[in-house]
């Protein structure tokens, strides 16, 4: 597909589906780079930032948010036709987001029992990542995306090379930064070893376990980690399931953990009775 003219700046769009706007805000949060970025890109559609509108065609389209209502199905297919490169940004677009926790519910029963007027219902049974619907050329993970990774991607787009996005577990980041392992040192459950880094190991650096917001690494042994959590801590099966029932819960293998162990009100495991948690220090999980 040919768009734009030779030598012209790439025509860029930023659009959203179901999301909190935090990932597109990360573009505006590139305070040091923003005015240079707009010198290299022709931003033709970015409703959060400009009243100038365009329906494309786009050389690069950044898509935030998950496919979550019937109108989204058509819209993403149409947008895909109008862009050369489609980049998904953030956990909603790449994994379905926190709103994908509803995917474990029986939506038909849910919808029928919940709404007095089902004709007003605008949501789909499931919140799904963009790649479930159209081809995606590149993705930035995270809830939210990392500004450093965003700059790397933008630079790669300008220079026409592949972005160099690190493909390692959060654990590697902790080792490099000399962060004492929160699991070994304090017994805090941490998803670092099964989670893609990119964040800079923020949670362990701030004294807590990784909650998986950059999503699972390929071939992550989540089941093994779950068995470990259950064996060494004073935790119920559902406590372990809840560790995986976060912002990328719908990505495998986290998805299987939630299905098998519980963790959302809708998944298996609901109803287990246990002692009320206490907090402070290292007692919480």
């Amino acid at each position: 597909m040919q768009h734009g003219q030779v030598g012209a700046h790439p025509r860029v769009g930023v659009v959203k589906f179901a999301s909190c706007d935090g990932c597109q805000l990360t573009i505006l949060n590139l305070e040091d780079e923003l005015l240079s970025v707009v010198e290299h890109f022709d931003i033709i559609d970015f409703p959060e930032a400009t009243s100038a509108r365009s329906a494309g065609p786009y050389d690069v389209l950044f898509v935030e948010g998950s496919v979550s209502e019937p109108a989204h199905l058509e819209r993403i297919v149409e947008l895909r036709k109008r862009c050369r490169t489609l980049v998904t940004i953030g956990a909603c677009a790449t994994a379905g987001g926190i709103q994908a926790l509803r995917n474990w519910g029986d939506h038909d029963a849910f919808r029928a029992s919940v709404y007095a007027h089902p004709e007003y219902i605008h949501t789909l049974a499931k919140s799904t990542p963009i790649a479930d619907h159209v081809q995606v050329d590149a993705e930035l993970r995270g809830c939210p995306i990392d500004p450093g990774q965003l700059v790397e991607l933008l630079t790669a787009l300008v220079t026409g090379r592949r972005p160099q996005l690190i493909d390692e577990a959060v654990c590697m980041e902790c080792k490099r930064r000399g962060v004492v392992c929160v699991m070994v040192g304090k017994g805090i459950p941490c998803l670092g070893q099964v989670t893609q880094t990119g964040c800079g190991a923020i949670c362990p650096r701030f004294g807590r376990g990784c909650y998986g917001c950059f999503g699972p690494r390929e071939q992550a042994n989540a089941a093994g980690l779950a068995r470990y959590f259950e064996a060494v801590g004073d935790r119920t099966t559902e406590d372990v399931g809840r560790l995986f029932a976060g912002f990328t819960a719908y990505s495998e293998p986290f998805r299987s953990m939630v299905s098998d162990l519980g963790g959302t009100r809708w998944a298996r495991g609901e109803g287990a009775v246990e002692a009320a948690p206490a907090g402070g220090g290292d007692a919480r999980n």
Binding site: F17, G22, C23, P47, T50, S51, Y211, P277, G279, G281
Partner: protein, 441 residues
């Protein structure tokens, strides 16, 4: 307000924006005026509901703090704050005074980034006739650069305290998972001091902008505290005498579902009509608690009364609060001594925990029912924009006579500008469609 068929020969004008820009989230505006009379005024909210009040059911308090942040990428701290205070109030947790100060500091960071974003990137282009701050930068590069420096100072402050500016990770029931060292905060002081000077310029700049004509008597609601400008603490007060504990929002207000919207409207139970929350409301109700630097600047503008009656002037209120947040952040850093422990121990207890704090856009109320297992059994979250929605629609009616003699395009722009004056956060307002009632049977 919905009209019927247009009678033959009537002069009907429709002002419509099907997708509002330079606001957070997806909304629309519609104003129909027939023979000089408003027959429809609506702020539509068509953003997809994400069911947060359902998602948090079954989760622990600390998990809820992480989850509700995701309601809004611009004001995640507001959500973390209302939630953490609601739980701590229920559990009877007494936090360290240094932790309390750090929470105010964190909130300062959010007000700084959010207000700088709104004033310069979202709202100022309206006053100066640009489609965006990017377009504005072509003519006013230095101004936009200064705005970005202030925004960065706020975001960086959040990063020091919480690891990242969007969805920071450190807020926990009982305190923080980690507190900063003195020198980490001191290293950021010069950037905040520079931004304070830029914020003072911002007050003068916004006060010099041409304000469209607009006047109404508002009913305003905010927190008010005897010793400080309202952030995390205080009592819910109004311009007509309400005075409630921050947990008791539900005694005076309630939500109702409006058909055309994916959000719920909040309204006062006393039937005294719509009310306004946000920077203008806070300035009206708590100007005497502003940092002296901010208070003096507000006096210098002479616009306190205009801020009360003209919604367009809320950009000046936001600038005054930007000064306040920067000045207070510097004071907190200067006085900072790390707490003995970042977090105090706590024990869950069943019951209802509720609290309101002041998000950049206004009063944000959370209410959680916690069960015997220490899990959330039910949740209610009332963001500022759903409280302002009725006031926005009322103000469209107020604004109508001022715009109908303008050319269509200009009139529409003026109405959009008015909507932006509220800094509506539509993602925030949309997580509703309350599923609770029907599910119980």
């Amino acid at each position: 307000m919905h009209g019927t068929e247009v009678p033959k020969g009537a002069d009907e004008r429709l002002y419509e924006v099907t997708e509002l820009t330079r606001v957070e989230g997806e909304g629309s505006l519609r104003l129909r005026v027939r023979d000089g009379k408003v027959v429809e005024a609506s702020l539509g909210i068509f953003e997809t509901p994400r069911y947060f009040e359902q998602i948090v059911v079954g989760r622990t308090p600390d998990e809820v703090i992480d989850i509700v942040a995701r309601i809004c990428g611009i004001c995640p701290i507001a959500y973390q704050m209302s939630a953490v205070h609601a739980f701590e109030d229920l559990f009877g947790v007494a936090i360290d005074p240094a932790v309390r100060a750090l929470r105010r500091l964190l909130y300062c960071g959010e007000w700084i980034e959010s207000h700088a974003l709104h004033i310069y990137l979202l709202h100022a282009p309206d006053f100066l006739g640009y489609e965006s701050a990017i377009a504005m930068a072509a003519d006013h590069r230095e101004t936009v650069e200064k705005a970005l420096r202030m925004k960065k100072a706020g975001n960086h402050l959040i990063g020091i305290l919480g690891g990242r500016s969007v969805h920071p990770v450190s807020v926990r029931v009982g305190g923080f998972s980690r507190v900063p060292r003195r020198r980490e905060l001191e290293a950021h002081r010069p950037a905040l001091a520079e931004s304070l000077e830029l914020a003072k310029e911002t007050v003068r700049l916004t006060a010099s902008l041409p304000m469209p004509a607009f006047a109404r008597e508002p009913r305003v609601v905010s927190l008010r505290h005897p010793d400080e400008y309202p952030y995390n603490d205080g009592r819910i007060v109004s311009s007509d005498g309400l005075d409630l504990r921050p947990s008791d929002w539900g005694e005076a207000f309630e939500e109702s579902h409006v058909e055309r919207s994916n959000a719920l409207h909040a309204r006062a139970k006393d039937g005294k009509g719509v009310y306004l929350v946000g920077p203008a409301a806070r300035v009206v109700l708590a100007a005497d608690q502003l940092h002296p630097v901010a208070r003096e600047l507000l006096a210098e503008t002479g616009m306190a009364e205009l801020i009360r009656t003209n919604i367009y002037a809320s950009i000046v209120a936001r600038a005054v609060e930007l000064v306040h947040a920067l000045a207070e952040a510097i004071d907190i850093i200067d006085a900072y001594r790390p707490p003995a422990e970042p977090m105090v121990a706590w024990t869950s207890r069943p019951g209802v925990g509720a609290w309101a704090t002041e998000a950049p856009r206004g009063l944000l109320f959370h209410r959680y029912e916690v069960d015997e297992r220490g899990r959330v059994a039910a949740a209610q979250i009332v963001p500022p924009t759903s409280q302002n929605q009725a006031a926005i629609e009322r103000d469209l009616v107020v604004a109508a006579p001022n715009v109908i003699d303008l050319p269509q395009a200009e009139a529409t722009v003026r109405l959009e500008q008015m909507i932006r004056s509220y800094d509506p956060c539509i993602s925030c307002a949309t997580h509703f469609l309350d599923l609770r009632i029907e599910e119980e049977d």
